[in-house]
Amino acid sequence: MKKTLIYLIFNTIAIFLIVTNAYAYLDPGTGSFILQAIIGFLAALSAGFLYYWTKVKNFFLKLFKKNNNDEKTDNR
């Protein structure tokens, strides 16, 4: 038990030291680190999803734009 406690305390201090030494002049935001640690991987998933979503969206936008251009030419 004692050993685990010492281990934990040592680790926490170590992490704290590493972070403050490297980025001493910037408050990186604890929340931002934890967000990246826990669900950073979601960014990659969403990138994949967004890629296809944009494709679908662009397809419809193009259709829409085409119609718009046609209208403009007609008006002229």
């Binding site: 934990l8 680790n11 926490t12 992490i15 704290f16 972070v19 403050t20 490297a22 980025y23 001493a24 002049y25 910037l26 408050d27 990186p28 935001g29 604890t30 929340g31 931002s32 680190f33 934890i34 967000l35 990246q36 640690a37 826990i38 669900i39 950073g40 991987f41 979601l42 960014a43 990659a44 969403s46 990138a47 999803f49 967004l50 944009t54």
Partner: protein
């Protein structure tokens, strides 16, 4: 006379280096703790896909180092940077300029990561503009990338780039004055209070604003960081966060409202002949003086700034308080590749010295370096609309540069008539004769010409 090296007051945040000036040159003095980064920066400057994002930089030789007269010059390494013509700050940028700065920052970061380097922060003050081109100036932010590390600048990027853009784009609220008041940008907690439920459906807003705010609130102590123990951010996830932001920011557009001056250049009070008179006067003037750096007060979309450039001037800094007009001016300058830097500026409340010791970000008067000023259809916005005494207006304008042009707008002009419609005519001394007297009290009038039927008159002056 030899001048002495002066240290930049705003460069204190990085203990490994300081920025200093001598004889119109900009130096970055790097101390031993920063030597490793110094070598890395030298290496990345050789990589073309990265160097094109960075300010032109060279390491100085021993001879030049001696000229700097540093106390301990054996123990420093020094870069020399190309000088930026006019320093501007993100709270003076219109939407599209801030957007381009954000994309510049992200793309640089992506290219660095691909070359095993990264950025330790993500501050919009690290970007400056050479007219329409963004340029990354804080080279000491570059460091080696180690596998699995987190994006330390994430929160800072959100506050100083993303949040202001989202504020304007999704809610139609201008960020400039809020940003200036906060210095660091728009706080994520405050922004998430303003955003609506429907905005959560955008992945990037959900992740970078709502979730970030949730985690920031929940985990405040550095001890909480033990959650991140043994956790790493894989490089491809890191790159995904950045590319997601690139795609998202690229898609952002300002939510537009009707602007007072946005339509000015198409909808002003001049007829064709009067406009030609004004054009001729200005064009003749600038062809004669060929100014290096013109200050255009109330530049609107830059119509007359462009005229000054076409008449032999090298560069124009334009200021206006109408953000729509400034944004349009920026887009025009970018499209036509003009040496023109339009910035947001409220003359009755100019950018002041702010930040630590009130020296970190300089005010407008501290940044004066113009050799001529142009104030067209401008003085009445101060003297009539803002009740600033005409004498002070004339004194102020003539203090900004040694020479220039001022246009006087008489009281019977329709713009002034609409200004005094409600508050009444409380300006008995506002007339051409008095204006001329006040101008000749502070400067020498070199030419004058009445250009419109209503009696608008242009003066050129010299001190």
């Amino acid at each position: 006379m030899m001048k002495k090296l002066t240290i930049d007051d705003g460069s204190f945040r990085d203990p490994d280096a300081r920025v200093a000036y001598l004889n119109d040159s900009v130096y970055r003095i790097v101390y031993p703790n920063g030597f490793r980064k110094f070598e890395l920066i030298k290496k990345v400057l050789q990589i073309k896909s990265i160097a094109e994002y960075l300010i032109d930089t060279v390491e100085i030789d021993k001879e030049e180092l001696r000229l700097l007269e540093l106390e301990n010059d054996e123990n420093v390494k020094v870069f020399k940077h190309k000088k930026i013509d006019y320093i501007s700050y993100p709270y003076e940028w219109s939407f599209h300029r801030l957007k381009d700065a954000a994309l510049h920052h992200l793309n640089l970061h992506i290219n660095l990561l691909k070359n095993d380097a990264t950025l330790i922060d993500a501050y919009s003050y690290n970007i400056q503009f050479n007219n329409y081109s963004p340029i990354f100036i804080d080279l000491m932010s570059i460091k080696e990338y180690s596998e699995g590390e987190f994006w330390t600048g994430h929160k800072q990027f959100c506050e100083s780039f993303l949040n202001p853009l989202v504020l304007k784009s999704k809610l139609g609220i201008n960020y400039n004055n809020w940003f200036k008041g906060n210095l660091e940008g728009i706080d994520t907690g405050e922004l998430s209070k303003l955003l609506k439920f429907r905005h959560m459906f955008s992945w990037n807003i959900f992740y970078n604003i709502f979730l970030l705010n949730y985690f920031e609130k929940k985990y405040k102590k550095s001890g909480d960081l033990k959650i991140t123990k043994n956790k790493k951010l894989k490089k491809n996830y890191y790159l995904s966060i950045l590319t997601n932001l690139v795609n998202f920011i690229q898609s952002l557009k300002p939510k537009k409202e009707a602007s007072v001056w946005g339509e000015y250049s198409r909808d002003n009070t001049y007829n064709e002949e009067e406009r030609k008179n004004k054009y001729d006067f200005i064009s003749n003037y600038f062809n004669k003086i060929k100014s290096n750096k013109v200050l255009d007060l109330g530049c609107n979309n830059g119509e007359y700034s462009k005229l000054a450039l076409n008449s032999g001037c090298k560069s124009v800094i334009g200021l206006d308080y109408d953000l729509n007009a400034i944004d349009e001016a920026y887009l025009i300058s970018k499209k036509e590749k003009l040496n023109f830097l339009p910035l947001y500026f409220d003359v009755s409340n100019p950018s002041s010295n702010i930040g630590w010791y009130q020296k970190e970000r300089k005010g407008f008067m501290e940044r004066l370096n113009f050799d001529s000023v142009m104030a067209l259809a401008f003085e009445h916005h101060l003297a009539i609309a803002k009740n600033i005494p005409l004498e002070d207006v004339v004194k102020w304008i003539t203090s900004l540069a040694p020479k220039g042009i001022i246009e006087f707008v008489p009281k019977n002009d329709s713009t002034i008539q609409s200004m005094i419609k409600l508050k009444g005519d409380i300006f008995p001394n506002y007339n051409l004769e008095n204006f001329k007297k006040l101008l000749s009290n502070t400067a020498r009038i070199t030419s004058e010409k009445t250009v419109s039927k209503s009696g608008r008159t242009l003066f050129s002056f010299e001190k």
